[in-house]
Amino acid sequence: MRRFLRAMLALPMVGLPLLSGCWDRLDPENMAFIMAVGVDPGPSSNFIYTFAVAMPKSSNAAAGGDSSGGSQEQIVDVFSQEASNLTAALMASQSYVARRLTLIHSKVFVLGESLARKGVMPVLGEVVRNDEFRRTVNVITTKGRADTFIHSIKPTMEKDINLWFELELDPHNIGAVTPHHSRFHDFIVDMERPGTGATTILSAARPDIERGKARIADEDSDKKASQPIEGDQYAGTLHRSGETPIDFFGSAVYRGERMVGFLTAYETIMMNMLRGEFEKTTLEFRDPSDEKLTLSIIMSAQKKPDMDIKRNKDEIEVSFKVRMEGDLIGSFSKLDYTLPQNQKKLETSVEEQLRDRTSKILDKTMHQWSTDCFHIGNHVRATFPTLQDWYAFKWRDHIKETKYRLDIRFQMRRHGDQVGPAVEGDKMNLK
């Protein structure tokens, strides 16, 4: 009897901990998973939040059965809400969204261009406190409005919006044309440090592509024009037609909390190179045998670059030592770059072009925009004994006068599946 009574007493004690999960049960069928959040300035010192919610497959199947005319299956549901902060926007949105909105699977945080130029710290500071918001979310700055960008999320090859985002935002996957680290964590860490230039992926909506109006120009009218280098463009200006009406190309640079400008894809790759975050990718260069032609090299870093800082009171000099290697993968030239003398010529030309490009991006970001995108400040900080001394130095005010030196070397390793150039039979000369 005593044992029975003890067992009965033990039941509520054992049962209560097991019931503690009831309040926070998450039923996926009742949830609306927000994939992307976009922010634009609102009319009354507030904001307009645009949400892209993953369309549940059951709803899609029901909708697909009724549609006719072969319209594209909708994989995201987009709506906008005006509010002072994200939590208020979610609360207000709940009044017309049946499922419970949740940020636990969000992939992207999109900042509209006008908001980015005004200052993003109020938005970030509010969002970072949210317990559902993860610091691994990617941050994108879009040209134009964020709601336009989110409305343009219409993948053509993917039905899984989660997969599409993960593939599009992985720099390893998309040819390294975006900053290697563009997550919220990297963004806010850079923003919170004095002088550092936070960077995000740059994107743009392409309404011309969506309307089918984009046309690549016909046969060149100017036969004397040099071949353009594709990497020297920004998102939104790529000459293309078809596919998803969104470009991810290049980066947006911030000085403090305000966006100060854009970098092209090529400049972004150079930035990644100097930061030690170079992802193997294809780079185009001017052909040393004919400046009008380009050649492509699959480039990779031999090792992480060395950055050395010399500080003499307020004068700072930074030197970068970069070692790159690559495989020649595309060339229009009639010159055989596999021959030693031509290989040397190519390597020297590539080194010069890399030096020229990195000088330009250093001048643009440090001397023109006064922003440190290369984490030079981390090394400068090491020369101070205490944090108080470092903050008193005011690194931002010294960026413009910072001198730099570049030591860039390139080695060609391989030449693809062709040894010499392809030559028309009638023009071949055997000597």
């Binding site: 004690m13 209560l16 901990p17 503690s20 610091r135 900080r381 004994p385 944090l387």
Partner: protein, 366 residues
């Protein structure tokens, strides 16, 4: 009365879990707030002062009757009145650790994991297994700790490595002296309270079979605890560099949330939470057991068990005293982790000193 014995591994594991459970609370953030980039130096200095607790407890136990716990030895050396006062201080110390840590862990669960669950349900759901484990006795606690310690330390190491591979800031520990040399050095002395939980050895050492096992258990505990506390602070600064380091609510949890390798390895925090909650429950069980053991020995009760459940109720009542999460963290940082070393080092040292004097006087008389 049958005194249950425990081995060296169980003893060391109890000490390790009792000390390192604080790494899942905002302890790294509080070190970064006061030390800046030199928070790791504070942790290092605190670890170097940790053996003082061990030596003073050993000294106290050596100058008392064989098999006495710290509580019995304190009363024997100081006498019934002063001894009881010091024992009350010990009781307050263990009790404060228990209810404050219960509150902090419950706040962590309420803010990030179970936001819709009422706080009292979370606390009761934790308190029930804590009370049951404490009721089972020191031997059961020791075996449980031995089986869980490896899992907990391994999960911490995996999270740290994952965090470093996801985001690593070079030169994150510079400037070397952080907020200032004198501040860092002095706070290192004050924050020796981080290892105050070593006081549990006052209950554990008499349970070991041989006196020769005491140093082995103590040094294993101190080494692993010091390493864990130091390495979590060290790595935290690399993954969340200053000033981001001073803004996060729960550093280890945020670190685990940050871990991401491609598409397949991400969102691992729920996996680690299991082992961390086990660590929290075990720590609180040890704290409750120590509080109950102190009280029962002060009152000369033959058993600890009758006091466990009433004390558990008292822990629940006191854990709702802080008005908010910020107040609970403030009490922990400003009082427990500032003055804790006075209890864990100061009182045992004084007791040891008095014990030595009394032994010498007794020796002279005979």
């Amino acid at each position: 009365m049958n005194t249950h014995r425990i081995g060296v591994r169980e003893t060391a594991s109890i000490g390790i879990i009792f000390i390192i459970a604080k790494i899942f609370l905002p302890f790294q953030r509080s070190l970064a707030e006061i030390g800046g980039t030199a928070a790791w130096i504070i942790a290092l200095i605190a670890a170097m002062l940790c053996p003082l607790t061990w030596w003073s407890i050993r000294g106290v136990l050596r100058h008392a009757s064989g098999g006495s716990t710290l509580i019995e030895a304190t009363e024997e050396i100081w006498g019934p009145w002063l001894g009881t006062i010091w024992n009350l201080v010990y009781f307050t110390f263990f009790f404060t650790i228990t209810f404050l840590v219960l509150r902090e862990f419950s706040e962590l669960l309420a803010s990030d994991i179970l936001p819709r669950t009422p706080m009292n349900i979370i606390m009761i759901a934790m308190l029930i297994p804590i009370a049951v484990v404490a009721y089972a006795g020191l031997e059961a606690i020791g075996r449980f700790c031995w089986s869980a310690a490896g899992l907990i330390v391994a999960s911490v190491v995996i999270v740290l490595m994952g965090g470093l591979m996801t985001h690593f800031e070079p030169d994150a520990l510079l400037p070397f002296w952080g907020t200032g040399r004198s501040q860092v050095l002095s706070l290192g002395l004050v924050k020796s309270s981080l290892f105050s939980e070593m006081l549990v050895f006052g209950f554990l050492l008499p349970r070991l079979r041989k006196t020769s096992q005491w140093p082995k258990a103590a040094w294993w505990c101190m080494s692993v605890s010091a390493f864990t506390i130091f390495i979590t602070t060290f790595v935290y600064l690399f993954v969340f560099p200053y000033p981001t380091a001073i803004r996060l609510n729960v550093p280890m949890f945020e670190l685990s949330r940050l871990v991401i390798f491609g598409r397949w390895i991400q969102r691992l925090e729920s996996v680690f939470l299991i082992s961390w909650l086990i660590c929290a429950v075990v720590k609180l069980a040890i704290g409750l057991y120590c509080s109950a053991a102190t009280l029962s020995q002060m009152m000369k009760l033959p058993k600890v068990q009758p006091v466990i459940f009433p004390l558990a109720l008292l822990v629940y009542a006191c854990s709702i005293l802080p008005g908010s999460e910020m107040e609970a963290v403030l009490w922990d940082g400003q009082y427990l982790r500032t003055y804790g070393s006075l209890v864990s080092i100061g009182i045992p040292m004084l007791t040891w000193l008095l014990g030595m004097i009394k032994s010498k006087l007794k020796g002279q008389q005979t």
